[in-house]
């Protein structure tokens, strides 16, 4: 491989790479605003100027192709002076807005001003004033004064979202960004422009002014919005999720995620209609009870049925661990092989960028861990028929609004003698249930999802519950979480009394005389490693980006 020399480090590069790419692959950071690894090269910000020997002038590292024997200096006197000059130019018309700017704390311009600028401005004239509250689209706000005209958002819309909606207008220092006449920036990926905007020019209408970035904790997780499983970060303050942002994963979602996933997959965690304690139906009314009472009731009622009269509905919204324990509970504790899960597809949802038609995060995982009927058992259709014909008398549903699948089911469920539901929020199904266990959401537990391509990825708890403590269970902690006490109103937040589904099921199994010795989701996963697809895997192996597993013919079955 050809080599170049950057700051006396000899590094190899792939032919055709630019200097900035070669440097980045070798861990050398060259400052950049307009360059983005996934977008085309624009070369307008000029902050990446470097000195190359035998070239009389400084060149921009983002568009200069590396060639054999090149000697690059990124820390030479000339480069540093040039960078400082570029920073001074960029800051001339940039308002001193940082205290009221949402980007503060994660702003490239702010960071580089500290790193590469002398901190004194010689500019005493009036700054150029532009429009400050511009509605670019239904989800994005634009502040013209803060914009440094890097064109990342324009290129994103053109190249990644494939819907050209933005453009530059005006000239010189009056240049600004606008949508094409009569258009809005409303493409389903529009909010990614907020993440890639190096300054606070583009802000999220949903998150605007909600919190300063340094007050939140960020937990690495996976979006449950569809079977793509985009990697995300869950931002939490006062035990409440405030926003989701995409996290880089080259195999799954690159740097992006869709607006649907970003906005609609966390509200139910904070929602008012969370189920906050176990509930039992007494004389037609659901009443709140303690865990022990609910367990005792569930055990005694499950025991009263013959094993073929009980059916189980797993869930593609639940983790592999939850589904695995459900399958184990059904087969070896109750002895029923009537187990299946609902496959959900929305043919209007998918596209050829990220979104998938399968709108559940884990249908492949549910299938792999055995939530599907074996030879003698009944599948979804069989279970429905069984309920109608009164052959199935008890139904155990986890994390699924079963009635929503098919309106016909509502009448059928009234024929059941027993309906046990694990749910996080109130739904039609919980309103007809006999016993409800409050289930932890994806943001409150450890677990794994398998996406449509067979990449198994970790989710991690970001919101603490009565069952899981932020400090003791090793969650990500913000400054306020670390140093607050329980006497501080802001450190308390709302803690829901919910448990992971696998935990509820193991307790029930214990009471039914089958001890399952799992204390952590990780132990469940280690036992799951006996399944061919998960062979030899541990949570450590999954790391931050997940592992692609062999799914055999299951994948075809699910995606068919």
């Amino acid at each position: 491989m050809p080599k170049i020399k950057i700051d006396n480090n000899e590094i190899e590069f792939k032919p055709g790479q630019t200097i900035i790419q070669a440097a980045r692959d070798n861990g050398i950071d060259i400052p950049h605003f307009c360059w983005h690894p996934e977008l085309s090269i624009s070369g307008n910000c000029r902050i990446c100027l470097v000195e190359v020997e035998k070239i009389p002038k400084l060149v921009i590292a983002c568009s200069t192709i590396a060639s054999e024997g090149m000697v690059v200096h990124t820390q030479s006197e000339k480069t540093i002076a040039a960078r400082n000059a570029v920073m001074e130019f960029l800051l001339i018309n940039h308002p001193l807005d940082c205290p009221i700017c949402d980007e503060a704390g994660e702003c490239k311009l702010q960071d580089y001003a500290y790193k590469y600028s002398v901190g004194e401005s010689r500019f005493t004239e009036e700054k150029v004033h532009k429009q400050k509250h511009v509605d670019l689209g239904p989800r994005v706000m634009f502040d013209g004064e803060r914009c440094i005209s890097c064109s990342r958002c324009i290129r994103f819309c053109d190249e990644i979202a494939k819907s050209p909606q933005l453009t530059f207008v005006q000239r010189g220092d009056h240049v600004t960004i606008t949508t094409y006449p009569g258009q809005q920036m409303d493409n389903p990926y529009s909010m990614n422009t907020i993440d890639i905007c190096p300054v606070g020019a583009l802000t999220s209408k949903d998150f605007r002014f909600n919190a300063r970035v340094w007050d939140m904790s960020a937990t690495k997780s996976v979006c449950p919005g569809c079977s793509r499983g985009c990697n995300t970060e869950v931002w939490v303050r006062d035990n409440k999720i405030l926003r989701l942002t995409p996290r880089y994963n080259p195999q799954v979602n690159s740097y992006w995620m869709c607006d649907h996933g970003r906005l609609n997959t966390f509200r139910f965690v904070n929602a008012e209609d969370r189920i906050d304690s176990p509930q039992l139906r007494r004389e037609g009314q659901l009443i709140k009870v303690g865990w022990d009472e609910a367990f005792a009731e569930a055990v005694s009622r499950i025991k009263s049925f013959a094993k073929d009269e009980v059916a189980f509905i797993g869930s593609a919204y639940a983790t592999c661990e939850d589904n695995y324990i459900l399958a184990k509970f059904a087969r070896s504790v109750v002895g029923s092989s009537n187990i299946d899960f609902v496959r959900r597809a929305d043919n209007n949802f998918g596209d050829d960028i990220l979104k998938q038609n399968d709108i559940t995060p884990n249908s492949l995982g549910a299938e792999l861990v055995g939530v599907s009927p074996s030879k003698s058992g009944l599948g979804i259709e069989g279970i429905k028929k069984g309920i109608k014909e009164k052959r199935i008398k008890a139904l155990y549903v986890i994390k699924e609004d079963f009635i929503n699948v098919d309106p016909e089911i509502e009448n059928m469920l009234s024929k059941l003698d027993l309906l046990i539901v694990h749910a996080s929020n109130q739904s039609k199904t919980t309103s007809v249930a006999d016993i409800i266990f409050p289930a932890a959401t994806y943001a409150e537990k450890n677990g794994t999802f398998v996406n449509f391509e067979g990449t198994i990825q970790r989710i991690r708890p970001a919101v603490s519950t009565v069952d899981a403590d932020r400090a003791l269970d090793g969650f990500e902690m913000s400054r306020l979480d670390k140093f607050g006490t329980s006497f501080d109103r802001w450190a308390r937040g709302t803690k829901h009394d919910a448990k992971a589904t696998w935990k509820i099921l193991t307790s029930l199994a214990g009471l039914l005389g089958h001890k399952m010795k799992f204390k952590m989701a990780e132990e469940v996963f280690e036992e799951m490693a006996s399944i061919e697809a998960f062979k030899g895997l541990t949570y450590d192996d999954l790391g931050e980006h997940g592992v692609k597993i062999k799914t055999g013919n299951v994948e075809e079955k699910v995606n068919a």
């Binding site: 940082c98 009221i100 509250h133 002014f209 140093f483 501080d488 109103r489």
Partner: protein, 167 residues
Amino acid sequence: MALKSIKRREKDLTFLEKLYIPEILKGLTLTFKNMIRPKFTFEYPEEKFIPPSSYRGRPVLVEDSNGEERCVACGLCSRVCPALAIEVQAGETEREKERYPEKFEINMLRCIFCGFCEEVCPEEAIIMSKDYELAFSNREDAIYGKDKLLVPISQIQDKIDFLRQYK
């Protein structure tokens, strides 16, 4: 021989000192002097102590002469506060500075009166006032919201003048 070599120590008294009378007179002079000097204690709370402008009393939020708060809820005071006493929740307004504090709370049990918030504030919106009378009977009362924190600028003008001069 041995006795002569012992040096005189400081605590050894001279003959005059051993008499005690001159020393007692010396002490009494001071006592009587102070009895006729003008006194500098005063009868608080009937008489109030008015501190100098450099005094750091309880932090207050400045309400401008047009009746609007100056605070833009940037959260820098909350970030710099070493005792984590300040909690700010920003909101959006139609005003020119698009942010305002929806909630601004200082837990006066946590506040250590260091004045960092005053120093860091980019809007001159939080000021250490001269108010030192802080008494509460329960924890909730010690959390001061915007209702207690907002003070018209006329009441703290001298403090602001002092800051402009020395900050």
